[in-house]
């Protein structure tokens, strides 16, 4: 079975490619990329005309929550992976704070099985660093890696015990599996509802000082530096965090970092209406931090953009602000929101693809992030002109907790191909068969 994608602009940072090319897929692999590939017969070939669109290596969201097992009413691996392809993602990594926690191989295998059944985006489980994410006893890293976990993280919680974190980083490094750190000093953040600043003062909401974040980032970097191992920092949101990571990288520390679109689009001012669709951890910060995040993306301090897709239902969100759960969904808006960085000249398209495909693949050591001939045909097609308005009710995700309701975007994924199969298409015309 062949699929011929004609006339698109291919942007692949891994090959330094940005050109109009045809791309031929055979049996799920990229067979050929050339200026023109003839539509001749022989084999059954489907042809899709992709003029005026952009083809990129399949986008990878390395930080999502799929809520299965245990909270299937919010999302399942099925609905989450459908939301992923609708958002242009061919691979996603899902965090371990499920119910029960993914701290043993059975849960990891279960998630992989669900993903296979769903047959949409590739789903890579991230397993917990500590049993039940309690932060006291390490999980069986080797066994989890063997079961298919691609990284370890207690995300949702920090690992407060520095000694445990040290051991985790050293052990994981020796096994070649990355640790993703959720940085939060829970003593400083306890009781906090939003960023501590002028807005929290006005609203009378308990604030989370930004020190809660960068104190733990500094700690994790110190641990990684001391033991000559690596660490990946999740959802970076502040000026100070960016600065600390930047300086560490300069010193040669093996630290990588990710941020989420809401940290370069919204500020804590969005909370004035007490809308719970703007409540998450880390909380939205100040304008100055938004600028610092953009600067961090621009100069490479921040390696990846990951949505931190965190579905919650009305039960968790349509309540008093203090009682509302933290988290917003993002798979179906992440790309469009991140394209604003290109609009604003913060990143070039190629650099954006690095953040959303090339680098996540590298950090997680998973296949993808490239359109080199011979690699799996995981491809995202973006229509940069496509204007659309976000309507949460139209999402593939089970949940609706998005801050982008009603927002007008330009640029959207219109075709998502995983392993050579079209998993999502909003193209007005079908493929031609020749």
């Amino acid at each position: 079975m062949r699929l011929l994608l004609k006339g698109g602009r291919i942007i692949d940072p891994s090959q330094n490619m940005d050109a109009r090319r045809d791309l031929l897929i055979e049996d799920g692999t990229i067979l050929e990329i050339a200026e023109t590939i003839p539509e001749k017969g022989g084999q059954k070939t489907a042809v899709i005309d992709l003029t005026d669109t952009i083809l990129t290596p399949g986008l990878i969201d390395m930080h999502t929550h799929l809520r299965e097992p245990g909270e299937e009413y919010k999302e399942t691996v099925q609905t989450g992976s459908e939301a992923a392809v609708a958002g242009g993602f061919t691979s996603i990594a899902c965090m371990a704070n499920t119910v029960p926690v993914n701290d043993n191989r059975s849960v990891t295998e279960f998630i992989k099985k669900q993903a296979q059944t769903a047959g949409m985006a590739r789903v890579y489980p991230v397993a917990a660093v500590s049993k039940d994410e309690k932060g006291t006893i390490l999980t069986e890293f080797a066994d989890l890696k063997d079961a298919g976990a691609v990284a370890l993280s207690d995300d949702g919680n920090p690992v407060m015990d520095s000694s445990l974190m040290r051991n985790a980083l050293e052990y994981a490094f020796s096994l070649g599996i990355p640790v993703i750190s959720h940085c939060e000093d829970t003593n400083l953040s306890a009781g906090g509802q939003m960023n501590e600043g002028y807005t929290s003062t006005e609203l009378g909401l308990q604030g989370i000082p930004n020190t809660a974040e960068h104190i733990m980032i500094a700690r994790d970097i110190a641990l990684a530096e001391f033991s000559h191992v690596s660490v990946h920092i999740a959802h970076v949101s502040t000026t100070e965090s960016v600065r600390i990571i930047r300086e560490a990288k300069k010193r040669g520390v093996r630290v990588t970092a990710e941020t989420a679109p809401h940290y370069f689009i919204f500020t804590d001012e969005s909370l004035r209406e007490f809308s719970t669709n703007f409540k998450m951890y880390p909380p939205l910060r100040k304008q100055e931090d938004v600028e610092a995040i953009k600067e961090g993306l621009k100069d490479g301090t921040i390696d990846a953009i990951a949505s931190d897709h965190a579905p919650h239902s009305s039960i968790e969100k349509d309540v008093e602000f203090e009682y509302a759960a933290n988290g917003i969904i993002g798979l179906e808006t992440s790309l469009s929101a991140s394209l604003t960085l290109v609009e604003e000249d913060v990143l070039s398209l190629s650099q954006l693809i690095e953040k959303m495909s090339t680098n996540p693949a590298g950090i997680l050591k998973i296949p993808g992030g490239t359109l080199r001939v011979g690699s799996k045909a995981d491809i995202t097609v973006i229509d940069p002109q496509k204007k659309w308005t976000v309507k949460a009710d139209e999402f593939r995700s089970k949940s609706r907790n998005t801050p982008f309701e009603g927002r007008k975007f330009q640029g959207r994924a219109v075709l998502t191909i995983v392993g050579g199969s079209v998993k999502y298409s909003s193209l007005p015309f079908p493929a031609r068969n020749i």
Binding site: A190, G191, E196, G197, Y198, S200, T201, E202, L203, G204, L205, Q206, G207, P209, E273, F274, I315, D318, V319, E320, F321, E322, Y323
Partner: protein, 308 residues
């Protein structure tokens, strides 16, 4: 002028004209509580619901009396707010009440923003915020301003010192907004860990030493301190707090001779205020309570009838 609002959720965006109208109306209504028959028929047939998620005797009673003096039917609901024991959600409670067709709902809740949920949801009812977490307590501030106006003739140009746990105080916030709008200058005073971040951006001065804050003050507003409720055990002890921040006969000499002392109540004698001061000639604490009824009558009067 016309009173345009459907709800009274906070003083942050109230104009001077609006505050003047409310205080003028309250002044005129004060007389009703001095009659032998303390009732006027104005809100006859209107239903006023007190929806209190936090315990309160004085505010609830004040609202209840205010409603009844206007001939409205007042109903009290004490709801439990434990997030551990999941009872009915706020939204379900609101919809249930809505189905019984009340006219005005007065709400007190420990979560900031809770009354705003009701105000958005219920299109036919007026919502009055009787205190939402540490956010706002507009009726307290309005009655405070009514009392200040009575005592000093005007609010403009006065120096008001507010002393206590500012960070957790909705009374402080509403008063900062209201008093600033009316042209007073506000000086805040409290221990460092009880002063919220960047509050100086509200145009107030911040002090940790009490003698600085009350220097030359026209009004001293003492806030109730509840050390047992401090979430992070921030302040070491009541003894130390009283030593630094209690309003004593000695300390009060730093203020203007004609200083007026206020407190939203209930007072902690000997902690934030010396009994001699609380019961003495400077104190208008009980007048605040009297004015509270008139003020709340004024708000019910202005809100009733809804928007045409």
């Amino acid at each position: 002028m016309k009173f345009e609002r459907k709800d009274i959720l906070g003083l942050k965006d109230f104009s001077r004209n609006e505050i003047d109208l409310i205080l003028d109306t309250a002044e005129s209504l004060k007389e009703v509580s001095t009659r032998k028959i303390k009732k006027v028929p104005t809100l006859r047939g209107k239903t006023v619901i007190n929806l209190f998620y936090e315990p309160s005797t004085r505010t609830r009673t004040s609202f209840e009396i205010a409603a009844k003096r206007l001939s409205a039917d007042a109903v009290n609901i004490t709801a439990s707010t434990s997030s551990v024991v999941k009872g009915e959600t706020l939204i379900d409670t609101a919809r249930n009440l809505e189905s019984m067709n009340p006219d005005i709902i007065i709400m007190r809740h420990s979560a900031a923003g809770a009354p705003h949920i009701l105000a958005r949801l219920l299109k036919q009812q007026s919502i009055i915020n009787a205190g939402d977490g540490a956010h706002e307590h507009p009726t307290q501030s309005l009655l405070d301003m009514m009392t200040i106006r009575e005592k000093k003739g005007t609010i403009e140009g006065l120096k008001v010192a507010i002393v206590g746990d500012i960070a957790h105080s909705r009374v402080a916030r509403s008063n900062i907004y209201g008093l600033s709008t009316m042209g007073a200058t506000v000086a805040l005073c409290g221990p460092a860990m009880m002063i919220p971040k960047e509050i100086d951006k509200m145009g107030v001065t911040v002090h940790n030493r009490m003698d600085e804050a009350i220097d030359d003050a026209d009004i001293i507003m003492m806030l109730r301190i509840q050390l047992e409720r401090q979430k992070n055990n921030s302040f070491p002890s009541v003894r130390e707090y009283a030593k630094l921040y209690c309003l004593t006969p000695d300390r009060i000499k730093m203020a203007k001779k004609a200083v007026t002392v206020m407190h939203p109540g209930p007072i902690n004698r000997g902690v934030e205020i010396d009994p001699e001061i609380a019961d003495g000639p400077y104190s208008v604490i009980l007048e605040q309570v009297t004015n509270g009824v008139a003020l709340r009558m004024a708000l019910l009067y202005l809100l009733a009838g809804g928007k045409q």
